[in-house]
């Protein structure tokens, strides 16, 4: 029973982190119907940006409450710049190209970013320890222990998710986003600068990925160049699970996915070595039988 509760908590923490990435996927897909395969790498470069600041820029002995905000800022800055460059240089020229081109480009961007970091970042050919920029120790609730970093993730992620939801529902730019998602041509006729809206969407995705990257780093204590691809796939699965294009759905899907991964690793056939397989099997089943996910609308056929 204690194990079950512990695994549920572990799954929820993972789900909260994945959810931050999944929001980026789901928003970009909602606006330009592009599976931004490289979004996981935006998360990855954010983690390396925070690692860089903390290791090479900040002086020794800075207390964690001073270092952590700087790391968040660095990660967000790096992620946003990379996301914007990606949109302007790789995706925008392809708007209106044949259907497979943007996906293959996204694949190219993903490989390029991974390899650039792996080859040029000092020591990135092996996993790097992430700076411990948060108090060690854990919160004990009955038989369950949650690391303080896990508590932080479980607090920050839902708050950010709610903030994005409110922003998209209430703000002027948010309204422009929803209009563009519904019908980009009509939105353009109404005077909305859809290129700007798209860029803004990538920026929001970048901010969330950057925050998620630092939370991920301090919780799992090490990063490598593969975390982007791996968690990107998880996040995409979560976004699909919740209904791609839906912000609440992405969060919900991510929590579900975290639970499936940690519970399947504990209880399902094959054990922890096969937990990935269950996640991918879940992805296939969802795509086949309920491609609109929990909260999405059924996809209309696009011309």
């Amino acid at each position: 029973m204690a194990t079950l509760a512990q695994q549920i908590v572990n799954g929820l923490v993972l789900g909260a982190l994945i959810g931050l990435i999944a929001l980026g996927y789901t928003m970009v897909y909602g606006i330009v119907q592009l599976i931004n395969f490289a979004h996981g790498e935006v998360f990855m470069v954010g983690a390396f940006g925070a690692h860089f600041i903390s290791l090479y820029v900040l002086p020794e002995g800075v207390p964690w409450y001073a270092a952590l905000p700087v790391m968040f800022l660095a990660a967000v800055a790096v992620s946003v710049v990379v996301a914007m460059a990606m949109e302007r240089l790789a995706y925008r020229p392809l708007r209106g190209a044949h259907t497979l081109a943007p996906l293959i480009t996204a694949l190219g961007v993903s490989i390029l970013l991974q390899e650039v970091v792996r080859v040029f970042y000092p020591g990135a050919t092996a996993p790097l320890p992430f700076p411990r920029a948060f108090p060690d120790g854990s919160l004990a609730v009955g038989p369950v222990t949650v690391l303080w970093t896990g508590v932080l993730a479980l607090t920050v992620a839902p708050l950010l998710g709610a903030a994005v939801h409110l922003y998209v529902e209430r703000s002027r730019l948010g309204r422009a986003m929803r209009a563009t998602a519904q019908d980009a041509d009509a939105a353009r006729l109404m005077g909305i600068d859809t290129d700007r809206v798209t860029l803004a969407t990538f920026v929001i995705g970048g901010v969330l990925a950057g925050v998620g990257a630092v939370l991920y780093g301090i919780h799992y204590t090490q990063i490598d160049t593969a975390i982007g691809f791996q968690n990107g796939i998880f996040a995409f699965t979560a976004a699909v699970l919740g209904g791609i294009g839906s912000i609440r759905g992405a969060m919900l899907g991510a929590l579900c996915l975290g639970l499936v991964k940690s519970l399947a690793g504990q209880y399902a056939w094959g054990g922890a070595q096969y937990d990935y397989v269950w996640v991918f099997a879940l992805l296939i089943l969802v795509l086949m039988f309920r491609p609109q996910g929990f909260l999405g609308r059924p996809e209309r056929v696009r011309a």
């Binding site: 790789a90 259907t99 996906l103 480009t105 993903s110 490989i111 080859v119 096969y274 086949m288």
Partner: protein
């Protein structure tokens, strides 16, 4: 229509093209050609390097023996001469620039650049810059009497070019420290050669000839491919490399059916190669190779249908993700030695080589290099895959695939049974990959899960896209490029995947139909 298009339209009838200046000799271009010729004869390295003279006695030589120029200097002389002719100017200039830049970069790295490089570079830039704007020639198609010898000559030339490219710079950095530079410079020359031929319309002409005399051309091509071992590239090392390329090329042709013809993006395709390889590896000790190969193909084909089944419900980007998920499931399962079938991290070692009439395929036959038999098998495999691709492409099924690729809803409305056609595409592609996998297993002798990770799927996809989706020679050209380059440029092996990523982005941006395609 964009502004640029409009400008071209306005320009086209008059303007630059009808400029009477075209008929006057272009002195700057001639000066460029002359500079290239002079550059070829100037010294390139400032002193004799510790590891021996720079390639082709490029050190301190100055007109002492102009009739003895060889290697890249000979290429420069040839390109300089070609640069005198108007149409050839631009490709020749590009070739000169590549050769000069490569050698200059290497010599600057060694700290010994001399006058030859800069002079040739300036000449090359002049040639590129002063290109005349003339449309490509279109040559008339001759009858059979002329066509057959022309095709023979063309494929013999191709054989020479392939062999020369493979052997350029030698096979080992240990014996030739300048091998990387020599190879890259030769690539520049080969590119220029092809470009010059293309500028004179020879390539289009040959393509049309090949199309008309399809069977003859195919036979000659096959014969030329089988003759590679008797050229300079006929060493055991190159036979091994070439047969590996053959296996991947056959796999890429299978992927070309799925992605290129039917337009179903498969991101986990290498799993079928793996399934074929593991099946054959498990059967290797109990049944002869043909049976193991057929079993590998059959099992892979079965899984092809399993993976293809979701295509009935999922399309476009979502389908790509489903195939990616299947690929990852295969990879994880193989990594964990599922059912004791894959050996997990220990791989499956000790797979015996293919044996026919008591002759093991990894042993040399007579004077031919070892690995020749595997090379021959790989060539036959690729040839068979090409025949299947060509015949399918021009069949009812192939037209159905292309209709689905262009617009699935319209295809269905026109009476194409889309579900059956899509599953068939997966079945054929996977079967081909499974067959290739069986050869792969026997050739390597060891099969481990690392050979089938996501980056291999991407490499295969890159081969198909680079060559041109849906074209017949495309997958072979792409696979050859992607597997020869890392072999020749080991000093850049760290950047291999990075360059792939960049290439994918750039090709989608500038040539989304691939390199081979004419459109």
């Amino acid at each position: 229509m964009t502004l640029d298009d409009a400008k071209v339209l306005v320009d086209a009838p008059g303007g630059r093209h009808a400029n009477p200046a075209r008929h006057r000799p272009d002195l700057l271009a001639w000066a460029g050609a002359a500079l290239v010729l002079v550059g070829a004869l100037l010294p390139w390295a400032a002193f004799v390097l510790p590891g021996g003279a720079y390639p082709d006695r490029a050190t301190l030589q100055f007109f002492d023996a102009p009739h003895l120029v060889s290697g890249f200097r000979l290429h420069l002389v040839l390109l300089g001469l070609a640069g005198l002719a108007g149409r050839a100017r631009r490709p020749a200039g590009i070739g000169v620039v590549v050769i000069a830049v490569v050698h200059l970069a290497f010599l600057i790295g060694l700290g010994a650049p001399s006058a030859g490089g800069p002079v040739a570079l300036v000449g090359g830039v002049l040639l590129v810059w002063r290109r005349p704007a003339v449309p490509a020639l279109s040559l008339p198609l001759p009858g059979r009497v002329l066509a057959w010898p022309a095709l023979l000559a063309a494929f013999a030339g191709l054989l020479w070019l392939v062999s020369a490219t493979l052997t350029a710079g030698g096979q080992s950095r240990a014996t030739n420290p300048h091998g990387g530079a020599e190879f890259l410079a030769f690539c520049g020359f080969a590119f220029a050669l092809v470009g010059v031929l293309s500028a004179y319309g020879v390539l289009t002409w040959l393509a049309a000839l090949t199309q008309r005399h399809r069977i003859f051309a195919f036979t000659v091509m096959l014969a030329c491919a089988l003759l590679l071992p008797v050229t300079g590239a006929g060493t055991g090392y190159w036979m091994t490399v070439a047969s590996t390329i053959g296996v991947y090329a056959a796999t890429a042709i299978g992927l070309n059916i799925v992605v290129g013809l039917a337009g179903l993006l498969d991101l986990g395709y290498v799993a079928f190669l793996g399934i074929g390889a593991f099946t054959a590896a498990n059967l290797a000790h109990s049944v002869p190779f043909p049976v193991a190969a057929l079993a590998g193909a059959a099992v892979a084909g079965f899984f092809g249908v399993v993976v293809g089944a979701p295509t009935l419900r999922v399309r476009g980007d979502y389908l790509a993700i489903v195939t990616l998920a299947f690929g990852e499931i295969f990879f994880r399962a193989a990594q964990n030695d599922i059912g004791g079938l894959t050996g997990g991290v220990n791989a499956i070692p000790g797979i015996p080589p293919i044996t026919l009439f008591g002759q093991a395929f990894n042993q040399p036959v007579g004077a031919l290099p070892g690995g020749f038999l595997y090379y021959g098998l790989a060539v036959l495999l690729v040839a068979a895959a090409m025949v299947v691709l060509v015949n399918l492409k021009h069949s009812r099924t192939g037209r159905a695939w292309e209709a689905i690729r262009e617009d699935e809803d319209v295809a269905r409305a026109m009476g194409v049974r889309t579900g059956r056609a899509k599953i068939l595409a997966f079945l054929v592609g996977a079967t081909m990959a499974g067959l290739a996998g069986a050869v792969f297993a026997h050739k390597l002798g060891t099969v481990g899960y690392e050979s089938f990770d996501f980056s291999e799927s991407v490499t295969l996809l890159a081969a198909v896209i680079l060559g041109g989706m849906g074209t017949v020679p495309g997958a072979v050209v792409g696979a050859s490029l992607l597997f020869v380059l890392p072999e020749k440029l080991r000093e850049f092996s760290d950047y291999r995947l990075m360059l792939f990523g960049l290439a994918l982005i750039l090709i989608m941006r500038f040539r989304p139909r691939g390199l081979v395609s004419s459109s």
